[in-house]
């Protein structure tokens, strides 16, 4: 879960990472009560990057210019997103701009320190200068020094940058972050350091043990990664542009099923992933409820002409799965006509399951390829 710049800087401030005096601006007229002196930088607070290049950051010298600039920024979408708030910040003259970040490195399975003397907007262009240090044992300051030295720093700057990295690491671990990035870290003419922009990504899995962060993110609108997602409880429907509605358990199986539908010249309308079985707590009853919720979600999509249910190795038996589907259908079919459905099940007690669903006119197909072929034909038949 991403934090906005001003939220990231609040964390920086608490940890003693130097940031500039700043103020949140919820509407242009807030600038009349500005407590920091001009010149000031106004920055669009959005989750997307690249705001500087499209006009989301403006320098202003007085209130009149500031209000006008704020109005413009509030109306400016950054990669489709409008800011809810701006950050007004003291202007800072950087002598040089560094890049610092900490991420979780999946190949070494350890935190990775990243740093470059060439930060700012050009960081990706000067990737050859990026240095990295793996934190293989418990963190100690020498890991930070190792990065600073690889970055080519010496003397007081070596020590000052190491101290900032150590503070970033403390935040990273204390708050269970996936990413903490300072870009740019400005070096003033006097040698002082200042975090001019910051990015913090919280790990969703750990949010439950950070009440303060959970409260923080609850107060701000979260970015919708894909605007065409619809949620019900914890389940979500992802919208595509065909006619086969797919209900699966597990991300891998869902992806494989979508791939196979395309291979068979079919088009998926949407999918719902009921999830793996390892979520905690997950008694068998929950899966039955999720199955019904998933069907609800798919039936809400009016472009669905055929439903494919593909459940493999779920915690409940095949006849139990069949029973949930059959009873769901009998309840819903009373009111209106549902699209045809193909149920793919394999394993024990398949005959029982087939018999239960046969009464509802729903075929149980053990082969995934066959089940998909059947769906594709049904979808085409309906469109014809």
């Amino acid at each position: 879960m991403d934090l906005l710049e001003y939220q990231a800087k609040d964390l920086f401030r608490q940890m003693g990472i130097p940031v500039l005096p700043s103020q949140q601006i919820a509407q242009p007229r807030d600038l009349k009560g500005l407590k920091i002196p001009y010149p000031v930088v106004l920055k669009s607070q959005v989750y997307k990057g690249g705001r500087g290049k499209v006009g989301g950051i403006k320098f202003v010298e007085n209130t009149i210019d500031a209000v006008a600039a704020a109005q413009a920024i509030f109306r400016l979408p950054i990669m489709g997103a409008y800011p809810e708030v701006l950050l007004a910040e003291t202007k800072y003259d950087a002598d040089r701009e560094f890049y610092l970040a900490i991420v979780l490195d999946t190949s070494t399975r350890r935190p990775l320190l990243l740093g470059s003397q060439y930060g700012g907007v050009d960081v990706e262009a000067k990737l050859e200068h990026m240095q990295q240090v793996i934190v293989d044992q418990e963190f100690s300051l020498f890991y930070a020094r190792r990065l600073a030295i690889k970055m080519g720093l010496t003397g007081e700057l070596l020590e000052a940058v190491s101290a900032i990295i150590a503070k970033m690491y403390s935040l990273f671990v204390q708050q269970d972050l996936n990413l903490i990035e300072i870009n740019p870290l400005a070096i003033g003419a006097d040698g002082h350091l200042m975090a001019l922009d910051g990015k913090v990504v919280i790990d969703d899995a750990a949010l439950g043990r950070h009440a303060d962060l959970a409260a923080l993110v609850a107060t701000t609108p979260q970015p919708v990664e894909n605007p065409r997602e619809v949620y019900s409880e914890q389940l979500k429907r992802v919208q595509l542009n065909g006619h086969i509605g797919v209900l699966c358990n597990g991300a891998g199986l869902t992806m494989a099923t979508l791939d196979l539908i395309q291979s068979a010249k079919g088009k998926s309308a949407c999918f719902v992933d009921l999830g793996g079985e390892y979520r905690h707590p997950c008694p068998p009853s929950t899966l039955q409820e999720r199955l019904e919720q998933g069907l609800d979600l798919i039936l809400q999509d009016k472009s669905v002409r055929v439903i494919l249910i593909n459940l493999l190795g779920s915690i409940i038996s095949n006849p139990q799965v069949a029973e949930v589907i059959a009873s769901y259908l009998s309840r819903r079919n009373r009111n209106w006509r549902l699209p045809p459905m193909v149920v793919r099940l394999v394993g024990d007690r398949l005959e029982e399951a087939s018999a239960l669903l046969a009464q509802a006119n729903v075929p149980v197909v053990p082969s995934l390829d066959d089940a998909i072929a059947k769906c594709v034909i049904l979808a085409q038949a309906k469109s014809a």
Binding site: L104, T108, V123, L127, L179, N226, G252, S263
Partner: protein
């Protein structure tokens, strides 16, 4: 940037794997979180499959019996009561997994299967520092564990889709692993071992580690690797196979048609991947297909194509 610092972190050699397969010996297993909902469902299934699950541990529940299996407050109490334990399958809630694993390692257990989903990644980092120091094999989290068909089940694989044989199956998915297993079984290819390392960003063991185990395993004649888009595991595995695996390998990767919005990459992570020499598109299907092609590993278009490719590579 020297190439040395970019090479994968050297994994400690894992304990000899055949221990899991030698079910006739005195290997005993434990369930941590036996009184949790999933623990109660799967413990009897494992026992029914012949796995020697001899005790459960749930703090504060010591003294109970769950379907004939005694429950203890701590791992060391279980060991004192039932004798040496070699394997623990962990079903405790996500934020308790680290402590449960540390407790098991402190009690001398060197094979851990973490089933629970939602373990914070930094807990895994902490766990892995300790598991590397104690040379403990960690599978998971967020995975169905291990099955040696016909012999032992350590996790939540549906056994009826598996059959004994000579194909080593390694995956990071759950139900997609079952899908591939049943295609193999249907196609006449039983399995020597099937393992899912879990789909989390910080898994306890890697594809490479399991490829090495399968390469050394006498029962395994060929290997099937099942991947997904996202992350860099498949790219790393492809490189490793080209360098270190002599047995025939067939790969399958799901996610070719998955919408792009589903793939999340952060500046830092992308930079990290790009610096590791894997290109900016690491995690995409293109990147993974390229990696397997470069390693000359046949890539199945669908689970049902895997047995056909296996026939071809095993003849060669």
């Amino acid at each position: 940037m020297s190439q040395v610092s970019l090479s994968p972190f050297p994994f400690r050699p894992s304990p000899p794997f055949p221990a899991f397969k030698d079910v006739s010996s005195d290997r005993q297993g434990l369930i941590q979180g036996l009184t949790e909902p999933l623990g109660m469902v799967y413990a009897p299934l494992m026992q029914a499959y012949g796995t020697a699950i001899v005790a459960g541990v749930s703090a504060g529940q010591g003294g109970k019996e769950i379907q004939g299996t005694p429950v203890f407050d701590m791992v060391e109490q279980a060991i004192a009561a039932v004798g040496s334990i070699q394997i623990s399958v962990i079903f405790v809630p996500p934020y308790a997994v680290l402590d449960a694993a540390l407790e098991a390692m402190a009690a001398g257990i060197r094979h851990l299967i973490l089933i629970t989903e939602g373990v914070p990644p930094l807990d895994m980092v902490h766990l892995l520092r300790r598991s590397e120091a104690t040379e403990t094999l960690v599978v998971g989290p967020s995975c169905p564990g291990i099955i040696v068909p016909g012999k032992i089940l350590l996790g939540t694989h549906p056994p009826d889709l598996y059959a004994p044989g000579s194909i080593g199956l390694v995956s990071r998915s759950g139900s997609l692993t079952y899908e591939v297993a049943q295609e193999l079984t249907q196609g006449g290819f039983g399995q020597s071992i099937a393992v899912s390392i879990g789909g989390d960003r910080i898994p306890g063991s890697s594809f490479q580690q399991w490829l090495q185990i399968l390469e050394e395993d006498d029962q395994t004649e060929a290997i099937v690797l099942v991947g997904e888009i996202g992350g860099e595991s498949e790219e790393m595995a492809a490189r490793y196979i080209a360098e270190a695996i002599d047995k025939p390998v067939v790969a399958y990767v799901a996610g070719r048609t998955t919408p792009k919005g589903q793939l999340i990459g952060h500046a830092g992570a992308i930079i990290s991947a790009r610096m590791a020499g894997m290109g900016a598109d690491v995690g995409t299907m293109t990147s993974k297909v390229t990696a397997f092609k470069r390693a000359k590993i046949p890539l199945a278009k669908s689970p049902s194509e895997i047995p056909l490719l296996l026939k071809r590579v095993m003849k060669a």
